[in-house]
């Protein structure tokens, strides 16, 4: 088990490094950061001054190693635009993103677990069809558009919820639904498949034959086993929620790290962008790692893989 964890850790670190190298390169392909930073009306001379001032004139690998060296020590530098330490900016906004992520994954589980179980009890029934339909819609609908529909309904027509901002708990309701709905289909399908699988297994038949009450068979014997892969998928989805809330936060002007990512991307704010990419990928890597470990702990067959 220790060896398994160490292997996974090394792989996780390699993934994080690769992501940061690729993103650093991509940022440079999107244009000279000095030109973006100097503003449209800057002269050649002014751009040259900024290029030198911020060290953009050095070879890209040198800049990257310099950045990496500082990042490893927790120093993400100063935002070129806000003139504030990047780590302060990110951590002041991370709370909003984490809150949203936790709300969204809870919402997703609240929807997907009961629906997955119900549709597994009676596969191919009307209820199952409805559940599948909801899942397909959730998978297909673009989140910015779903968010807009909710705004139209709840903010404009009904006037119940604020369309934008992050000042009250009401501001989190619509973003939670949008982000959570995105994670629902996968969780629901896995619950359904797991339940169908478990319900047809021998020990369930034995439990039923012993005359246990159906509810006890369902929840104590079946769900507990069927839910194991769902827990690890939920961990992975949580990584998605934290790193993938850029669109949702931008649509609702929710003042989290995803919104900051949009702001820094649209301004070529290299240092903030790099830090966020690293942090977002770390979220994903850490949660995927946790899911792997959890799965291996629950199922020894996976440890050798």
């Amino acid at each position: 088990m220790v060896r398994f964890i160490l292997t996974k850790l090394v792989m996780a670190a390699m993934v994080a490094l690769t992501v940061s190298i690729i993103s650093f390169g991509l940022v440079y392909m999107a244009g000279d950061p000095a030109i973006a930073l100097a503003g449209e009306t800057a002269t050649d001379e002014e751009i040259a001054v900024i290029r030198e001032q911020y060290g953009f004139d050095r070879p890209i690998p040198v800049q990257y190693l310099d950045w990496l060296g500082n990042a490893v020590r927790g120093d993400f530098g100063i935002s070129y635009y806000y003139n504030m330490p990047v780590s302060d900016m990110i951590f002041s906004r991370l709370g909003t993103t984490v809150t949203l992520g936790l709300c969204a994954i809870s919402f997703a589980l609240l929807i997907s677990l009961p629906m997955g179980v119900l549709s597994a009890i009676k596969p191919n029934s009307l209820l199952d069809r409805v559940a599948v339909f909801i899942a397909v819609v959730g998978e297909a609908i673009p989140s910015f558009w779903f968010g807009l529909l909710l705004i139209v309904l709840f903010s404009i027509n009904l006037g119940w919820l604020p369309a934008s901002g992050s000042d009250s708990w009401q501001s989190f309701i619509m973003p939670t639904i949008v982000l959570g709905y995105y994670a629902t289909p996968a969780l629901m399908r896995l619950t359904r498949a797991g339940m169908i699988d478990v319900l047809s297994s021998d020990y369930i038949r034995t439990a039923k034959a012993k005359g246990l009450r159906p509810r006890k068979v369902l929840f104590k014997h079946a769900l507990r086993n069927a839910v194991i892969p769902v827990v690890s998928l939920a961990a992975v989805q949580m990584g998605f929620m934290l790193g993938g809330s850029i669109v949702t936060e931008t649509v609702f002007a929710l003042h989290g790290a995803g919104f900051l990512a949009w702001q820094s991307i649209s301004r070529n704010d290299l240092s903030t962008m790099q830090a966020l990419i690293l942090i977002f990928s770390m979220f994903y890597i850490v949660f995927t790692f946790l899911a792997d470990v959890l799965n291996a702990w629950l199922d020894p067959r996976l440890r050798s893989g």
Binding site: D44, V152, I156, S164, W262, Q263, S266, N268
Partner: protein
């Protein structure tokens, strides 16, 4: 129209039967929604438009450009005189105080220009400082500017973005603290700033009687909402009084909803196509031939594009400048849409079957594609490279672009030196490299006699049009959306003046 725009427009259309409550007038608070936030409230560290807008409300410049007459009048200055071509003597307004109570005097002016613009100046955008050799204090209310060379556009810069900072307060708190609580002399005072989210301004009750008048609305709440559709939802829902830069199709929807008044006003920004006449991409490239550049100019139906894809306030232009800018000669060679003539010119240039070229662009994709189709009709086939502005500007500066569609906002400076002189004086983005044009522009840029300047710029702009170095396209415009309680008249310099806003 992209899928996103299509779906979004549909969603907003569903919102029409809404009921809304407008409560802002009762609180005397105008809700302003911008797409981009104020990145650094220590404004000299920002080159963003949002900083210019904040600067106009909370700070003052020495001069002010009257937007109706175009004349420069005193603001923090009361009298001024060019004692020779390079010396500007300015008498300052007495009795003005900064928002923190600090008295305004010559030390503040000298500090501002030395700290941000001097040899070690820290300002990020410096065109407003580059012309200054030094600033000298004569007495508490008199300063003298020494220019490096005659610089006729000095007043334009001094009136636009050289906000006067309080020297004592800034020295005491430093840049980062100043960014938390900026202090100026302007009609509005910063009340609070939430970085990335927005800021709140309160009317300055002690504002002096100058060309910018006192604020008429007590509180201005500026919020950042990046998504245009969410902005529209806030306006329809009665939670916004003012939106800015709304795309034309969305503006029409909002107008038809009856929930907002849309004002479409002109802007300094112009669009243009520039071609590699100097042969930097290829010494034998097609655009080194005048006939080919003229063919491009005849091939594009700018009026049709304007009617189909732009709005009322956009004007088709023929000179390499905006007609509102000083020195912008409009009596130049015009290229009316004439595809047959374009084909003839191509044949005369040795391209009877046309040719294929790379075409770069960074904005207005539907317009770009319309132009490319028009070029294809006369035989100029294009491979579109669509990139971010910084990437396009970088490639252009390196001389790697044969033909590109760009726009230029001149930093809202209404003087030809802020546009034509920037692109035709052998800087990296000069595609023409025409010695004669450069000489005329130098003459216009360095004379303080308006007539001499006009004559010099006229010659340069006429030659640029004759040679078809650029195909000037149109001026841009901006859609402003106002709630039915707010009164506001936009200005053509794209600076939103909150102190001009009032309740109906």
């Amino acid at each position: 129209m992209s899928l996103k725009r299509f779906l979004s427009a549909g969603a907003i259309a569903l919102a029409l039967p809404a009921t809304a409550s407008y409560a802002d007038k009762a609180n005397d608070t105008a809700e302003i929604v911008f797409m981009r936030d104020l990145d650094n409230p220590d404004l000299y560290y920002s080159t963003a438009r949002s900083a210019v807008i904040a600067g106009f409300q909370a700070f003052d410049t020495l001069f002010y450009r009257d937007t109706e007459t175009g004349e420069y009048v005193g603001n923090l200055a009361t009298e001024w005189e060019w004692t020779d071509d390079v010396t500007l003597k300015v008498v300052l307004r007495e009795g003005v105080t900064f928002h923190n109570g600090e008295a305004f005097n010559a030390d503040d002016v000298v500090f501002t220009f030395e700290h941000f613009g001097g040899p070690d100046g820290v300002a990020k955008g410096r065109p407003g400082f580059n012309w200054i050799e030094s600033v000298e204090k004569v007495d508490d209310y008199t300063v003298i500017f020494h220019a490096k060379a005659p610089f006729p556009a000095a007043m334009a810069y001094l009136a636009m973005s050289n906000y006067i900072y309080p020297n004592e307060y800034y020295a005491e708190v430093g840049s980062s603290k100043f960014a938390e609580k900026p202090v100026g002399t302007g009609p509005y005072m910063f009340d609070s700033i939430d970085p990335g989210k927005g800021y709140v301004l309160k009317a300055n009750p002690n504002y002096f009687e100058g060309p910018k008048h006192k604020a008429q609305i007590g509180t201005i709440n500026v919020r950042t909402i990046p998504d245009v559709n969410t902005q529209l939802a806030e306006m329809i829902g009665g939670n916004a009084d003012f939106l800015w830069n709304i795309p034309e199709d969305q503006a029409q929807k909002l107008q038809s909803s009856g929930r907002a008044e849309i004002i479409n006003a002109g802007a300094v920004r112009v669009g243009y196509i520039t071609m590699d006449a100097a042969g930097r991409t290829d010494p034998e490239g097609p655009f080194t031939k005048k006939e080919v550049r003229q063919a491009v100019s005849y091939a594009i139906d700018r009026q049709a594009i304007k009617q189909a894809l732009l709005s009322e306030a956009n004007t088709v232009i023929d000179s390499a400048c905006n007609p509102v800018q000083f020195g912008c000669e409009t009596d130049v060679t015009k290229y009316e849409y004439n595809p047959e003539k374009a084909k003839e010119l191509l044949a005369a240039a040795g391209y009877p079957d046309g040719f294929t070229t790379k075409f770069y662009a960074y904005r207005d994709r539907p317009i770009t594609e319309a132009m490319l189709n028009m070029l294809a009709e006369v035989g100029i086939k294009t491979e579109l490279t669509y990139m971010q502005y910084a990437a396009t500007a970088e490639a252009h500066g390196k001389g790697e672009i044969p033909i590109t569609f760009l726009t230029w906002g001149s930093g809202s400076i209404t003087d030809v030196s802020a546009i034509t002189s920037r692109f035709f004086k052998f800087e990296s983005r000069d595609d023409a490299r025409d010695e004669e044009v450069k000489q005329w522009l130098d003459e216009g840029d360095s004379s303080v006699d308006p007539e001499v300047r006009k004559a010099a710029y006229s010659k340069a702009l006429k030659k640029i049009a004759d040679e078809a170095y650029w195909l000037p396209l149109w001026t841009y415009s901006i859609n402003y959306a106002l709630s039915d309680e707010l009164d506001f008249v936009p200005t053509e310099d794209e600076v939103v003046r909150f102190y001009d806003m009032s309740w109906k």
